[in-house]
Chain length 201, copies 2
DNA sequence: AATATAAGTTAACGGTGTTAATTAAAATAA
DNA sequence: TTATTTTAATTAACACCGTTAACTTATATT
């Protein structure tokens, strides 16, 4: 009965191979400009072979969104961890910067996840593991900052949603409209983060 | 020589007919899901006839973006005008609300202009008329609020970009991710606007 | 009325996601 | 090991797509 086991592994390997090919194409060319035929060519299979491993093109995207969201979460946690300060406000600031910096470091992932396919995020987050905790992470940090008095007491859920909105605004605008006459980037970001914090204290 | 004049008018009428059909389809189905063939069918022409009036599908989009941006500008101006208060801060607040409300009233336009095709905005704004003054409008209001002391003095350009970012964040998130467990909308918006203003005073 | 110009049509090219039918390979049963 | 069944891959096909080229029809100019 080890054949079943082996086969299971083979399926997983094939799925990985497909994803690997697809993620490169999706990130460089954009989801819409990547065809099943292109993915198939890259892994030397016929286009229809892929359908034995993924129901359709969208399911490949979902899997890649999951991966991307994991990377996003790691970046966020790492960013918060690096600011080893115990000060709740510093930790909050660190997480805000970490969010924006993820966008700059992985603009293609950010675009794919948070701009072009945000409506799929529910499907990406709400499945088994702790992926959903991405937003909870921010909420917790906000709640902590409130309990220490660093932030004005308020609905932590509401406040973190407001923060997310401002973060998403600056990140997505800079990514999708790079030709605009933006203020120098670093100064813009620090100004935005400072204003966000100030608005809540 | 009046035939030339008439013909010119006919061309303009045909362009209008195409745009009229396209705008409905683009807004309801999204740019990507609308084909030249569908537009053609709606106006009872062969698909290739359209190419006598627009170079390609994208040029139709650009024209529609221009229209949409005009509507956006009108909404903004109207929103500011309605708050007939002379108080600079009130005027600023009114323009912030007007921006978000445009997004809620015309989510399809907002998505088309500011989310899916923002990179085209340069082409939409920087042509002849005063379309570009959309962003200047906000900058001017901000500058005024600074000169009256209602807002902390600062680079008005930078401040208005920061405001735009926060506005775009909340508007685009609510539009593209309606299934999320958002705080009740009206409360969310007023909280966001208040926080934005507070962050700058 | 004959000719040149413009505007519309159909046909075609190379592409898309996906399904159905078919062949080749692998696993199971005899 | 052979025969049979299951599985995985292929090719063919469908109904689309944006766009170009060739052709026909209508309009305008000579």
């Amino acid at each position: 009965m080890s054949t079943k086991e082996r086969r299971k592994r083979e399926i997983e390997e094939m799925r990985l191979e497909i994803i690997e090919a697809a993620v490169g194409l999706f990130l460089s060319d954009g989801y819409a400009n990547v065809s099943m035929r292109k993915i198939a060519k890259q892994i030397d299979y016929s286009p229809t072979a892929i359908y034995n491993y993924f129901a359709n093109k969208e399911e490949i995207l979902i899997q890649i969104l999951r991966q991307g969201y994991s990377i996003f979460l790691s970046s966020l946690k790492e960013g918060v961890a690096k600011s080893d300060s115990q000060d709740a406000l510093e930790r909050l600031k660190a997480s805000l910067y970490a969010y924006i910096e993820f966008g700059f470091k992985h603009p293609d992932y950010y675009r794919l996840i948070f701009i072009e396919n945000l409506h799929q995020l529910q499907r990406v987050m709400t499945e088994e593991d702790d992926r959903i905790r991405g937003f909870l992470l921010l909420t917790e940090i906000v709640a902590k900052a409130m309990s220490t008095g660093a932030l004005k007491k308020n609905d932590a859920q509401l406040v973190s949603q407001s923060l997310w909105a401002s973060l998403h605004g600056i990140t997505s605008l800079l990514i999708t409209f790079p030709d605009f006459s933006w203020h120098e980037k670093e100064g813009f970001v620090t100004f935005q983060v400072d204003a966000m914090i100030k608005g809540l204290t």
